[in-house]
């Protein structure tokens, strides 16, 4: 039985997690860093478009300001974002981008040598800093390289799956991990734990997310009684390639690409006459689905075209080489010559573990940041370019806050609690892995995808959501009778996928219940039976707590500082 101890534990190797590790190590804190895949394999690397910061580098956006960025974010969030947190994020944005540039991130450049910025959806200004269309990749590698310079403070546990928390006296005192190499459970003790486990896109079948982006990271604290917030708000990215649902960055539209329907028209003129293609994502996704629903999809089918051709070969090769590569690889289409068939796909989990703007949850010693957390800076709809920013700002803040809390305490002593929890988790997993039923867990996952893709989608209504809820609960009971997983301890992915499917089912239920309860349309959550926003009843967050009988929902107020809700037009 192996027990490790560090002052601080960070779970997750993506941009937020690595940022937290870096910032904590800069304080000289002894960090245990846990990631289920090697850090640079994380989904942050798939982010393409860029990171928002009011640097004012673009000649057309010199008078951009932190306030304007904050206002755009508040408006984009459909007034559900906490305005104090948003102000913190936009205020820290310029210095964080400069920090990352100095750490070596190869941003694209303007002629005067400053970091290049381009327009993005829902932003009034060209404020999205980018490195061609591989910004996430560059940022992730940059913060990882920074980690390499500070290795003496950091112990990396890669290919360790966190499967539970060590809770005692109402505090989080560490985590229980599943070591992929040995198949054994190990306990890691720490005075504080930061979760940065990413989004839950794999609850859906049509998603731009990686296979690793499952709900497990959100579910572990949720199972231990830490509430989750606003899970019903799931962003659908307007443009993913058909079939594989790989992301086509919003940067393409930021650079001037068109969305075209079967009649060959730029249909966005009907929905957002001023912003056109660079309206916020919720609006563009709904517009595409409306076009498709009204029979104006290409050849009456369920996709539209993203047209880059007028940008010219040079601009495409220079600014959007990554998406060209994806089109060539997966569709056999060269966007210089042909239009790209696209449709919306599940993309970003606005909801997550309920934390404040210091990334603290209600349980002392437990922090969360990045996509798995809900601060909330994105409210009901996230703006493109704000997710990388959230990772950097709140990842950094979590590292600093938690780091300062534990600094100098030394690694915790081996506690009997950890051993006890470890044994309990071993029994729980043993039960999960030896159910001996006849159901195939992967087929259950496929059915869950089908339900979420059809009934908990961009357009929702009571009847659909209710039938989805019944179906999910039915799947949960069938999951009790799954076949036993394959034996073997070394790199047995059958075990980890099974656990992730279990988590996906639980969070799917929370999403559906939240969507059913919220009788209004706000941001990404659109109820056809309640098509308008209802600030009086619903300008509040949804909180969900785990109970044996299912999620228990309640409310939490939204923080408003400068901006009163107004009608949202683009």
């Amino acid at each position: 039985m192996r027990i490790h101890a560090h002052e601080l534990l960070v779970v997750g190797g993506g941009l937020a997690g690595t940022m937290a590790v870096d910032e904590a190590a800069l304080l000289g804190v002894d960090v245990g860093w846990i990631s289920k895949i090697y850090p640079i394999r994380s989904h942050s690397g798939e982010a393409q478009g860029g990171i928002n910061a009011a640097l004012g580098n673009n000649p057309e956006g010199r008078d951009d300001s932190i306030e304007r960025h904050a206002y755009d974010t508040v408006k984009g969030s459909d007034f559900l974002g906490d305005q104090d947190a948003i102000e913190i994020m936009t205020c820290e944005a310029p210095q964080r981008v400069v920090q990352l540039e100095r750490w070596g991130c190869p941003f694209s450049r303007f002629d005067d040598g400053t970091v290049a910025q381009r327009p993005f959806g829902g932003g009034g200004f060209p404020r999205t800093c980018y490195g061609s269309d591989r910004t996430g990749h560059f940022l992730l590698h940059t913060v990882f390289q920074k980690y390499l310079t500070m290795k003496k403070y950091i112990t990396l546990y890669d290919e360790y799956y966190v499967i539970g928390l060590i809770m005692n006296d109402g505090r989080c005192r560490g985590v229980i991990c599943f070591n992929m190499r040995t198949g054994q459970l190990e306990a890691l003790q720490g005075h504080a734990t930061i979760f940065a486990t990413g989004g839950s896109g794999r609850i859906y079948g049509r998603t731009t997310n990686s296979y690793s982006s499952t709900a497990l990271g959100v579910t572990i604290p949720y199972w231990e009684g830490i509430p989750v917030k606003d899970m019903e708000f799931f962003q659908f990215h307007p443009t993913s390639i058909i079939g594989k649902n790989i992301l086509m960055t919003e940067g393409a539209r930021g650079e001037g690409a068109y969305l075209i329907n079967d009649a060959g028209e730029r249909f966005m003129k009907r929905y957002a006459p001023e912003y056109m293609e660079i309206a916020p994502r919720d609006l563009v996704s709904r517009s595409i689905m409306t076009e498709i629903g009204e029979g104006r999809g290409i050849n009456g089918g369920s996709f539209v075209y993203l047209d880059l051709r007028h940008l010219g070969a040079e601009k495409i090769k220079e600014r959007l080489p990554g998406i060209r590569e994806i089109c060539l690889d997966f569709l056999g289409i060269d966007p210089i010559k042909k239009m790209i068939p696209v449709l919306p796909a599940a993309h970003y989990t606005m909801g997550g573990i309920d934390v404040d703007y210091h990334c603290r949850s209600e349980v002392p010693g437990f922090y969360a940041c990045g996509e798995c957390a809900c601060v909330s800076v994105h409210g009901a709809n996230r703006l493109g370019g704000n997710s990388l920013l959230e990772c950097v700002v709140f990842g950094g803040r979590a590292g600093t806050t938690a780091g300062n809390e534990v600094k100098g305490k030394g690694a915790p002593e081996r506690s009997e609690i950890a051993v006890k929890v470890l044994k309990r988790k071993e029994e729980e997993l043993g039960e999960l892995y030896h159910r001996g039923g006849s159901e195939n867990q992967y087929h259950i996952a496929d059915e869950l995808h089908e339900i979420m893709d059809t009934k908990v989608q961009i357009f929702r209504n009571r009847a659909g959501l209710e039938s989805a809820l019944r179906a999910i609960r039915d799947l949960k009971s069938r999951f009790q009778k799954i076949r036993s997983v394959s034996e073997g301890n070394v790199f047995n992915y059958d075990k980890t996928w099974t656990l992730e499917i279990k988590a996906n089912l639980d969070i799917a239920e929370v999403i559906t219940l939240g969507a059913l309860r919220r009788e209004e349309s706000r941001g990404a959550h659109y109820r056809t039976d309640f098509p308008s926003r209802d600030d009086e009843r619903w300008m509040k967050h949804t909180i969900a707590r785990y109970t044996e009988s299912g999620p228990e929902l309640s409310d939490k107020p939204v923080s408003v500082t400068k901006w009163q809700p107004e009608e949202r037009r683009y």
């Binding site: 895949i37 394999r41 100095r102 790199f491 996928w497």
Partner: protein, 425 residues
């Protein structure tokens, strides 16, 4: 996963299997997998896991050729499973094997520890120059363009597995690591610049590459590590002459020894050096030419100890630790007649006052080294090899120290002898 659409074909996936928990050698399993024209190898693997054999292990994450997890050997060629469409493999057999040069843990999962360590060793992070106030570094779009084709690497290991040199030399960092080093070398924001080459110009560094282009062939991101390696080779040749770091190191060493004559700034550039060598050769040739005519006379006169020794002119003044270039000629019987070759050597006075000469022929590939007084080393202009004043290897690919020549002074003249050569006199 592979379902849907009309044109479904059955394809055989033959997959490398190894389980350390079984007492069994590696073997192959075959699975029948339905594929349509859009099915990727990765999706085929998921079909097997979900429907046929849940014990199969492989790494994956992004499925969009960005994360670099699913590098493996696919029908003999290294690449990413997610990016490879089954239909493009042409034929109904897909053979999947793990990455080479890394120990297999289970099935297609390999131990990447060595790989990541090699990435770390080349110090891929930016070592920034003095920070520009509270803003970002200024870098022109042209300077940024220099980094294109270098910073996109996803560390998937395909090039590492494909490189034959990674097989032969476990110290060779591998194409991906050198690519990352080149990215920093070309980055104007990095203060180390060419100094980064110091760790790469050893025998197991860039010179290990034999330009087989296998890395470039397999790279799923269409990058060219070969180009990066060749760029570094060019840099390595120019580098030592200007190396501020090695100069600085030597200067400090000198100061420690209390040598007053340390002159940190003096250095010779390449053109000056070539001019000097040319002038040297021309004057040398003249001397030798004149000497040739008088040779028969000389030959008759050589007796006693002079046999096997070559005259090298008057004895020059030489300070301790300050080698002086001397010219002499070596003669060889060729095609029935005696030919003469101009040679150079360095006369060195050791710390105890002993006198010896050094043959500056580089022991790597025979290029002519020269003494660079500013860094106090014998430098080879071809591959960046460097030797100290005693001829011992300091840097670079040379396998042996420089050859020493025996020295003797008689009648106010200097004589050299090379024991390995047949006595020509």
């Amino acid at each position: 996963m592979a379902a849907g659409g009309a044109e479904i074909l059955m394809v055989t996936f033959r997959v490398y299997r190894y389980n350390p928990e079984e007492n069994r050698d590696p073997y192959y399993d075959e699975y029948a997998v339905p594929v349509d024209p859009s099915t990727t190898v990765l999706e085929g693997l998921f079909y097997i896991l979900e429907n046929i054999d849940s014990t199969l292990s492989w790494r994956c994450s992004c499925r969009a050729a960005v994360c670099g997890s699913c590098g493996m050997k696919i029908n003999g060629k290294y690449g990413l499973a997610c990016r490879t469409l089954v239909k493009n493999l042409k034929g109904d057999l897909v053979i999947l094997e793990p990455l080479a040069h890394l120990p297999v843990i289970k099935d297609l999962v390999v131990d990447m520890t060595d790989f990541y360590e090699k990435y770390e060793v080349i110090e891929p992070y930016l070592m920034p120059k003095e920070l520009p106030g509270d803003r970002e570094f200024r870098q022109s779009p042209q300077e940024r363009k220099e980094l294109d084709g270098l910073v996109e690497c996803i560390l998937c290991g395909s090039c590492y597995a494909a490189c034959t040199m990674c097989h032969w030399d476990s110290d060779f960092p591998g194409p991906f690591a050198i690519l990352a080093a080149d990215a920093r070398l070309r980055d104007g924001r990095d203060r180390e610049g060419r100094e980064r080459l110091l760790s790469l110009i050893s025998e197991s560094g860039i010179w290990r590459c034999h330009t087989e282009l296998r890395c470039t062939d397999v790279c799923p991101k269409k990058l060219s590590p070969t180009e990066a390696i060749n760029h570094l080779k060019r840099e390595a040749v120019i580098y030592p002459f200007f190396s501020s770091k090695s100069r600085e190191l030597k200067r400090r060493e000198k100061q420690l020894k209390g040598d007053e004559t340390a002159s940190p700034e003096k250095s010779m550039n390449r053109r000056d050096f070539i001019t000097l060598v040319l002038i040297g050769f021309i004057s040398l040739a003249t001397v030798v030419f004149a000497g040739l005519f008088s040779f028969p006379l000389l030959r008759r006169g050589m007796r006693g100890w002079k046999r096997g020794w070559v005259a090298a002119g008057p004895v020059p003044a030489v300070g301790i630790g300050k080698p002086v270039e001397i010219a002499y000629s070596r003669k060889k019987w060729e095609g029935g007649k005696l030919s003469s070759y101009p040679q150079k050597a360095y006369l060195v006075k050791g710390e105890s006052g002993d006198l010896y000469a050094i043959d500056p022929t580089c022991t790597h590939l025979g290029c002519m080294c020269f003494w660079d007084d500013s860094i106090r080393m014998f430098m080879c202009p071809c591959h960046g090899g460097a030797f100290d004043v005693n001829g011992r290897v300091v840097l670079g690919p040379p396998p042996r120290p420089l050859r020493r020549l025996e020295v003797r002074i008689a009648d106010g003249k200097l004589y050299l002898r090379n024991e390995e050569e047949e006595g020509v006199s």
